[in-house]
Assembly symmetry: C2
């Protein structure tokens, strides 16, 4: 058992420490002595992009099933144990990891650790529960399908990455969910939910030694402390996910058209990601951004218009989203293309660069005042990065971005082949010129 | 100028003070000395239910226009001044009030106060801006219309309150927005945005005297300090909003049916509101609630199933929301009716009452750790309540709810005439038995 201090913090706050337990289970904590609560996350390094075709949707299905019952608690006991003390418990599945988390008053930390460790290590996954939860997941798919602003983002990923694990929907499809049986999901659980691939992250009014002891005890009780240190990396689709350029149109009688116009972005470890962040802020990151000003403020063509980046181990996305009345789409697409070209040709103004940096800086600092976001930051970092940058280090990297770097990143990313996803009442309207 | 301490706090944290400036402008603050940020809100006591028919949608339209330009700042300067320092600025319109807010680092408090006071007191509302923003609002309406889970809640309010201001959509309708001209909106602004009807609330790492001075200076510079202390209460539809029972079905080819089954609830000042809160938590407030257990955990009939309450000055709503595949709706409605009847006839179990209280308690405490939620609590309270209960007082009221009170509230609210709103592919299917 080895404990290291990753960041010394200041006056007892912001101290980040990591202990590795037998079997490779990692526990990272951050102290926030002025709050009364704690956030606890258990991060498993397995996501939807790790699914073989016969497992499509299994990662998310499993996330649901882990709340259905363990050797010692049924579904009601799992939720009641946390909700009865005024806490919340939930989970989410991403393309590269799955996270189970709870937020409770600091004195209730032992309950949160105990319940989360129980579901992560000791779920039963009965055939009955699989069948009942299948219905819930089919409802979730239907719900997403009714929201065009959700659909268009999945459509964009599918167009960009094609029919590969990272391009597929996290929820799976109606067909894949209907095809998944109990045994296949249980086997997936046994194989991938190992301590070696798990990070427990806790932020709030805590003491690192106490957290480590609680986690160790809970895992030991479950017989899950120890185990093989080596396990094959599950990733099936990296590095170097294949990408495609093209147009995907979904003909639907919606009131608004929804579109995503974008390209590949940068991987999570790309050194230029801070420059891409500043570029993204200036181009479409807020109300003062170019796209918002041109599309909404000056012309009233949309309510929602923004750009975004997302990053994975080996690839990333850069996209512009706009929702607008179907009749406005050609004008909106022209503005998007023109503004992107303008940035490539003329660069950003000094003012825009300053504002972009200010926005990134503020978003980071203001976004880290609650226990949940601190817990997420250290947990996700431990799982997917080699190093944990301190907040100050991240701020310094943002500050250090130069106009030349910005110009280079713009010339690279914004000139990549484009992909367009559109949902709206368009029949067989041809959008190919929009990406030329 | 009169300053009172509403709550003494503890060790310098949680101190709530109020100062009334000339003209009746109220400034309330709460100290949170351990954070690095501040949240500033300007609350105007005017909402969509205060609109005469010819003003329908004007409150929300105005909220948009206040970001378009003042005597000294254009739209770009308004957003850039806050975003450039890493802050966020936004606003929302409710049925009984409108709120403009910003969140910034504590050292930037003067900027936030200055910009918000500027937009609230000195917006120009030009005809050009009205026309351009009209397009944005029509987009917003179309966006909402594409989300059936949004639509069904508006549909429920319309069915419950009929064609009265409180039953109408906050955004207005395509027709009402197209009919609103510059002069009518400007007149609405002049008439209702008075200091007497405004509360400035600030929470974070602040000093009350400094906040008061900044607000006074900003309002004075705008010529908005002082003015008549008396103004007619604008409310046109209270007290005693008329309510209706009935069924509203919207036939749409959605993947999921969305339904709200409910009744009137309780007004914001009803002494029994804490009992209704506990009842609501136990019936549909979380994953351990009866409705979630019966509909989702046991039968897998829905992804989202919950109950909720909302409260206004003179009325309120109690509703159950479920999204489910269209073929499941009869079964879901039967469970909703059965569970409601069971609560009325048999009451809640001791365990459910404890859990309901724990959930309300925890939700309150955990929900008040950030500056934004503290700012909202004190600002909204100052505007709509006669007194500001401390968090401890609210916790004591929740704790004090007795089984007898719960039984009485259940027997009252859950036996009221019911209203059902449904959106889904139902043609002219008859749902009247569902509310009998």
């Amino acid at each position: 058992m080895k404990t290291v201090t990753l960041h010394p913090g200041k006056d007892g706050a912001g101290v980040v420490r990591r202990t590795v337990l037998p079997g490779g289970l990692r526990v990272v904590t951050e102290t926030m002595p002025t709050v009364r609560s704690v956030a606890v996350g258990m991060w498993v390094g397995i996501g939807s992009r790790d699914e073989a075709p016969e497992h499509m949707g299994a990662t998310h299905f499993l996330e649901h099933l882990l709340f259905k019952g363990t050797a010692t608690r049924d579904a009601m006991e799992i939720s009641a144990s946390i909700e009865g003390i005024g806490g919340e418990i939930n989970a989410f599945t991403a393309k590269e990891y799955t996270c189970y988390y709870a937020r409770v008053l600091d004195e209730d930390l032992p309950v949160a650790v105990d319940v989360l460790a129980d579901v992560v290590t000791s779920s039963l996954i009965t055939a009955d529960d699989v069948d009942s939860e299948r219905g819930v997941i089919l409802e979730e798919i239907a719900m997403h399908d009714d929201d065009p602003s959700d659909v268009v983002h999945e459509q964009f990923a599918a167009a960009l990455y094609g029919d590969s694990p990272i391009g597929r929907p996290i929820l799976g499809t109606v067909e894949s969910i209907n095809a998944l049986g109990r045994d296949r999901i249980a086997e997936y659980y046994q194989r991938y939910y190992q301590p070696r691939r798990t990070v427990v992250s806790v932020a709030g009014n805590i003491n690192h030694e106490q957290v480590v002891e609680l986690v160790a005890r809970a895992y030991e009780r479950a017989g899950a402390l120890g185990g093989p240190l080596e396990c094959d990396p599950p990733r099936t689709s990296g590095p170097g996910a294949e990408t495609h350029s093209g147009v995907s149109v979904l003909d639907r009688p919606t009131e608004q058209a929804n579109l995503v116009l974008g390209t590949t972005g940068m991987s999570r470890t790309d050194e230029r990601r801070f420059a891409l962040g500043v570029l993204n802020s200036a181009l479409g990151g807020g109300m003062s951004s170019r796209l918002f000003q041109e599309i909404r403020e000056k012309r009233g063509l949309a309510y929602s218009a923004y750009s975004y980046t997302s990053a994975y181990a080996d690839t990333g996305q850069f996209g512009i989203y706009v929702g607008c009345l179907p009749s406005k789409i050609d004008e909106v697409l022209k503005i998007c293309r023109d503004e992107v070209s303008r940035v490539v040709e003329e660069g950003l103004t000094e003012e825009e660069i300053l504002r972009g940096k200010g926005q990134m800086r503020g978003g980071l600092v203001l976004g880290l005042e609650d226990t949940g976001s601190r817990m997420s930051r250290i947990g996700k970092n431990e799982l997917v990065y080699d190093e944990l940058l301190s907040v100050d280090e991240v701020l310094a990297r943002i500050e250090a971005v130069t106009p030349d770097e910005l110009a280079a990143v713009a010339a690279d990313v914004l000139n990549r082949p484009r992909t367009l996803a559109v949902i709206g009442p368009y029949g067989d309207k041809d959008f190919t010129t929009a990406i030329s």
